[in-house]
Each structure stands twice: as C-alpha cells, then as structure tokens.
C-alpha cells in the first residue's frame, strides 16, 4: 500500500482541474505516470472510491473531488 501516492493523486485530482479533466476523459492515460500498485491503479481506473478509501485514500478527499468524488449515503 502506497498511502502517499494514493493521497497525492487524490489531492491533485481535487486541486488541478486540468488533471481532473484528463482523468475523466481517459483515466488510464491520466495516471500512467503515477507510482501506484496494481490494485490502486485498477481502483482509480474503475473510479471505485470505496476501494480507493480502503486502500488508504483519505476519506475527505474521496468525498470531495468535483465530478469524481462520492458523497456517501446518509
């Protein structure tokens, strides 16, 4: 688990609209250079925020990335 790499990517997806737009367009290409494990990469490409959170992604980031984040139920 590379906690730093996951959260650094989440942070930049939140704060960098250009990266976010490229990620929405083609997630695999947008994160090609990110230092992620295979499981992390699969979760990002699938947009599986629950899995990203379980792998160490910080909750408030996975909940608040515009157009990508999940707000959770309740």
């Amino acid at each position: 688990m590379s906690r730093y790499a996951i959260n650094s990517l989440l942070y930049h997806l939140k704060k960098d609209p250009d990266l976010r737009a490229r990620f929405i367009e083609d997630p695999r290409a947008a994160i090609a250079d990110a230092d992620l494990t295979d499981a992390e990469r699969v979760a990002f490409i699938a947009g599986d925020m629950r899995k990203i959170n379980e792998l160490g992604g910080y909750l408030h980031l996975v909940m608040s990335i515009p157009k990508i984040g999940t707000h959770g139920g309740h």
Partner: protein
C-alpha cells in the same frame, strides 16, 4: 488583564443543502435547528465585545496536503483567505457564499506562537494556509451579518495519523489561556467539528455515529470533569469517529474547569450535530 470571555464548540458543516442531500428533510430540519442555536450563541459572543476570536479547527487536506501536516499550527499574518475550490461539492460547497478574506489578530497569534515555543510547544506557523469550512462555517453562522472579530485560526491535525494526543491538545489550550491572561484582550474562543461521524474514516461506515460515546463526552463536559478526557486515545477517537474532538480538547484546556451547557444535540445517521457553550 485579558480574559477568555466566551467559549463554545459546534459542528462545522452548517449547511441545510448539504444535510438535505445527505439525510433528507430531517437533516435539513436538524441542521437549521443547530444553526439557530449557534446564532444565539453568537448573540452572547457579541455582547461580550471580544477583541479577537480564536478558532480551533482541523484542515481537510485543503491547506496542508501531504507536503506537510503540522500537529498544531498557528495561522499568523494580517489576513487569511478562505479555501477556494473549483466546482466545489459536498462540505466544500458551503464556502461558496462566504467572504474571501478575514482580518487576523496578529498580536495575539504571535503571542500564542512565540510564548508557546518558549514553553515547550513545538508549534508550526503559517502565513499562507487558507481556512476551509471547519473554520468559516461556524464563524459565519455565529455572527451572520454582524462584524467578525479579528480571528486567530489554529489548526489541529485531527485526521492524519499520528495525531497529537488529547492530553497534548488540552495542555496547548492551557497555554492559550495563560497567554490571554497576560494580554490586554477580551477573547472569544471556539472549537469546531463533531460530534461522532465517519468512524475509522471509512466510506463504508459513513452513516454511522456513536451516540453513547458522544453522551459520555457531554456528561464530563457538563460537569467540568475534564480529567477523564485527557486519557482519550487515538484509537478510541478513530473508532468512534470522534477525530475532531481534539479541537474541543484545546478549548477545554483553555476554559477548564468551566462547565458546559448543551445548546443543541441532534442525532442524524450521518453525524450527531452539537452546539455547546461554557459558563465563563
């Protein structure tokens, strides 16, 4: 001689639209009730004519990313800006209608910082960190259209392990009280966040709270019995979703042994909303 003239703590996403989306009509109703109670607390804050308002809150990876996460950080300088976020969603969206810039009480912030370091608190400082909803939602709800006193934002690392201990946060609050007592200022102080929500910071547990734990915390605060709170562990806070109670521990250190009055407590699936005020 200076004095802390107001002490309060409250939840910090104070937005009917957020709770409507998260919890439906009941969420909207309860957060409006909480906001009304907090606005009445603001009436009492204003009556006491504070020269400054210390706001103890946590960052949500908006000011401090993974380049640096300070345990305790004093925001110094002359002004602070609110966090900006394009296409803001969820709790970030509450900031959209708020003023962009707020005046800081530079002398009080510097005093807390400088005297803190001399006293053994290895405090971080920042001239540039913006403040997010954790600071500005309570401040704007307390004061509404009224003038906002000069602020002293203090960041506590509530979320990124290893966090400062509950005991250390309390001790830092005691330090703040000493600084204020030696100053010429009347100071209001609030802590924000909570009560229990987002246990273990897991998305799969969003929607769970720990009301029994919250009521235990309230029990001690109402009685001014703060000693048991010093032994709260990081594990307890994490498992119960009480990470942000560390902010409250700083306030408790500053006003101990004052007793608390609960102005609002409202259970929701997502969070237990609370507003508490101390008898000073």
């Amino acid at each position: 001689m200076g004095r802390i003239v107001f002490g309060g703590a409250m939840s910090h996403v104070l937005d009917p639209e957020y709770y409507q989306a998260a919890c439906g009509d009941l969420g909207r109703q309860k957060v409006i009730e909480a906001m009304d109670a907090i606005a009445r607390m603001g009436d009492r804050l204003v009556e006491r004519k504070p020269d400054a308002l210390i706001v103890v809150a946590d960052d949500h990876m908006n000011a401090f990313s993974f380049n640096c996460v300070p345990a305790l950080c004093v925001r110094i300088g002359k002004k602070v800006q609110r966090m900006t976020q394009d296409n803001a969603e969820a709790f970030d969206k509450v900031l959209d209608h708020m003023a962009n810039e707020y005046v800081l009480h530079e002398d009080l912030a510097n005093s807390i910082l400088e005297q803190g370091v001399v006293s053994g608190f290895d405090l971080a400082l920042s001239w540039e960190a913006p403040v997010d909803h954790a600071f500005l939602s309570p401040v704007n709800t307390l004061l509404g259209p009224r003038a906002i006193p000069s602020l002293v934002p203090i960041f506590v690392n509530a979320f990124i392990a290893p966090q400062p201990t509950a005991r250390r946060c309390f001790q830092f609050g005691q330090h703040i009280a000493q600084v204020v007592s030696k100053s010429p200022w009347a100071v209001g102080m609030i802590a924000t966040g909570g009560l229990s929500h987002f246990p273990e910071l897991l998305l799969s547990r969003v929607g769970e709270t720990d009301t029994a734990f919250d009521r235990k915390l309230i029990h001690w605060m109402e009685r001014g019995e703060h000693e048991p709170l010093l032994d709260l562990t990081a594990d307890e806070l994490h498992k119960t979703g009480s990470h942000e109670f560390l902010n409250w521990m700083v306030l408790l250190g500053a006003i101990t042994p004052a007793r608390a009055d609960v102005r609002y407590f409202g259970e929701l699936p997502r969070i237990n909303l609370a507003a508490v005020e101390w008898r000073l």
